[in-house]
Structures are given as C-alpha cells and as structure tokens.
C-alpha cells in the first residue's frame, strides 16, 4: 500500500473541501450555501479517513492533522483541478462536476481494493459522492441549458477547467489503482451530461500536469494553504 497513493486521495478531498467551504455564507441562495457546506463537510470527513490511514501507514508519528497543517505546497499531492480558485458559482460547480465524475469512478474501483482499509474508506465515500455527483450534474445541466448568460458562463468555465481534466487519468505506481482505466467511463458520463447541458466539450485534450506528483502546483495552492494553515502554525499548541 503506497502512502503517497493514500495522500493523493486525502489531499484531493482536503484541498477541494477547503475551497468549497470558502463559499460558506456567500452562495447565491441559502439552499446552495447549505449544499456547498454539506459537500465540503463530506470531503473533509473523507480527508480524515484517507490522511489518517496514510499517517498510520507512514509510521512516523504524524496524524491526519499534522499532514493537513504542517506540510507546504510542494508536499501536497492533490490534482491541479481542485486547487483552482472558486471564481464564480458556475466555475465552482463545473469544477465540482468534473471532480465528482472522476471521484465516483475512482471510489467505485477502490471499493473493490484488496486492502480492507482502503476498500472500507471507498465504500463509505461512494455513498456521499454519489450524492455530490447527482447535484453537480443537475446544476451543470440547469445552468448550461439555462439563460444566455448562464450558458455562456458554464461554457467559459468548461473551457477554462478542461486542461485540468487530463491529470486525473495520468497514473503511476504510487496510485492505489490504475487511474488511466477510469477514462472511458468518465468520458461517457461527462459526455451525456454536457450534451444535456447544451455545452461543447473542448477539442484539445492538452493537460496541465504536476499536482499529483508534486512537481509543480499552480500559484493558487500556496495562498489557499496560508489561510487554511495559519492558526495551527501560529499557535501549534492550540486545541479545540
């Protein structure tokens, strides 16, 4: 069991959970605010499981909290997609939709993993992420096939985020499963939703890389971590 593979799963949910929680109190409607906060909560819960297992397997006395709060950007192994800023609500929901579509395929495969602990976390997460994908798909369809303005914003979000899709399907020995094998199911699902949303999938499959290997994160991650980590780093002895 690769510790890096576990950290990748946990960093994705941690970084996206933090990003989504930035909306708390700022969403366009109360129901959306609650939905985003609930999604963030699920993702942070999953983070505790993944990073908790990673810390235990690593055996260096670290915990999920140490991994979350006391690593710098270059030690994070999340996908570049999840660290992208929220920008507008359409961009946030498109990012969520692309991530959920990959996440659900990945967790479904991980639920059959030989390691019982990995399988258990994935089985638990599948239930929550099924819900996330349903909601983000519905929102992408409603806004894509909505007004002229909402359609234009969703197409612009798709065009801007598509170069971050390819990284989800790059794979190496540290991954817990073969991520490349998930692409056909992802393409089929995303294709159906985009068609219903009257959105056009970009032609180029050019992909920005470097998040999951840690080689090169975008500038946005460091800013996000500065906010997320300031309290435990400034007051290392602080407890709840």
């Amino acid at each position: 069991m690769s510790v890096i593979g576990l950290i990748r799963m946990g960093d994705n949910t941690l970084v996206l959970g933090q990003r989504v929680s930035e909306w708390c109190g700022h969403s366009p409607a109360l129901e959306e605010d609650i939905a985003l906060a609930n999604t963030a909560l699920d993702l942070i819960g999953q983070t505790q499981l993944w990073l908790g297992l990673a810390a235990e397997r690593e055996g260096k006395g670290r915990t999920a909290d140490t991994l979350a709060y006391h690593r710098d950007a270059w030690d994070f192994r999340n996908l570049l997609l999840v660290e992208q800023p929220n920008r507008d609500f359409g961009m946030t929901m498109m990012r969520q939709f692309l991530f959920d579509s990959w996440h659900l395929e990945a967790l479904t495969a991980l639920a059959k993993h030989d390691h019982a602990e990995i399988s258990a976390i994935a089985q638990k997460s599948v239930k929550e992420v099924t819900y996330h994908r349903e909601r983000s798909s519905d929102t992408v369809i409603a806004l894509g096939d909505g007004t002229e303005e909402s359609h234009a914003r969703m197409q612009s979000a798709l065009d801007r985020l598509w170069p971050y899709v390819g990284e989800m399907f790059t794979t190496d020995d540290d991954d817990l499963i073969d991520m490349a094998a998930l692409r056909p199911a992802f393409d089929a699902y995303v294709g159906d939703v985009l068609a219903e949303a009257t959105l056009t999938r970009p032609e180029s499959d050019f992909a920005h890389l470097g998040g999951k290997t840690g080689a090169r994160h975008t500038e946005h991650l460091g800013h996000m971590l500065a906010t997320m980590q300031v309290l435990p780093r400034s007051y290392p002895d602080a407890t709840w």
Binding site: E31, E32, I34, A35, N38, T39, L41, D42, L43, I44, G45, Q46, Q48, L49, A116, S119, A120, I121, Q123, K124, S125, V126, K127, E128, Y131, E134, R135, D138
Partner: protein, 155 residues
C-alpha cells in the same frame, strides 16, 4: 474471578435511552449506528459506525455514549469506530422512522424521496434542495399545505 458485569442486553437498553444530538426524538439505537456491544474481559467494547464521514455529531455521540455508560457504572469502556460495511438508513428501526415522521421529518424511502408530507400527509411534494441542515437530510416542500420540511436522505 467473579465480577459483576452488567449484561450486554442491559447495555443495549441504556443506549436506547441516548438521544441523537441533532435529532433528539430518535435514539442512537433507532438510528442504527451502534453495531455491536460485547465484553472483552473487563472492558466493554461498543462498536459505533458514523452516519456521514464528516458529521460533526459523531464526536458528540461518542461523548454521550460514554456518559450514559459511566452513569450506569461501566468503568472500562472502549469505543470502536467501524466504517465498513458503511451505515445505511436500512438499519434505522421502524420505531425510529415513525418517530421521525411525527417529529416533522419525512423518513427515508428507497424511492429516493419522501412518500408524503409529514405535516398534512399529502403526496404532492417537491424537492427544494438535495442537502439540508445536517448531512443526513434534504429539503423538500409540500405543494398542498406549502410547508417546507426535512427529508431524511436514503443511503
């Protein structure tokens, strides 16, 4: 060695009196999150499964289990977290579902939405949002009496 350990059945009865911190009308047993109670030597081991992985009530629930058992004289207690098989609303008791409805929360249905409005029993209901005030609930509305209500998500 002869010890006076309470029976496992007594422990289940005590836990049935511990309310869910978010929805106090149902107990932890009604919710189906207590998966096992057994003695390991002199230590009572209680196996608890979380409803949602990030549910903040989980830590409160553990504190309340501990408090309820301490009051009943349990000294050596071990709380075990079990995440597989994952919690499902199928484990909620029928009594719990009935209590939810009379409290104003539509109980989970395999069809994926509430069967009827918990206020006026009308079957004319519509979804407002897939998410609600806690991770386990969604927001629905009755198109007859026009009241919004919580629906306990079926997972």
């Amino acid at each position: 060695m002869v010890t006076t350990r309470p029976s496992v059945q007594d422990v289940w009865t005590w836990l049935a009196a511990v309310p869910d911190p978010e929805i106090p009308v149902i107990s932890l047993i009604d919710l189906g999150i207590i998966r096992d109670v057994q003695w390991q030597g002199d230590t009572l081991e209680v196996t608890v499964t979380p409803t949602y992985s990030g549910c903040p009530a989980t830590s409160i629930i553990n504190i309340e289990i501990e408090a309820a058992l301490r009051v009943n004289g349990i000294e050596n207690l071990s709380l075990k977290r079990q995440i597989a098989p994952p919690w499902t609303t199928d484990w909620m008791s029928d009594a719990g579902k009935a209590k939810l409805e009379s409290y104003g929360i539509a109980p989970p249905q395999p069809a994926g939405g509430p069967e009827r409005c918990p206020h006026c029993q009308s079957t004319h209901v519509e979804k407002i949002s897939q998410f609600g005030s806690t991770p386990c609930k969604a927001q629905w509305r009755c198109t007859n009496c026009l009241e919004p209500f919580d629906y306990f998500k079926c997972i």
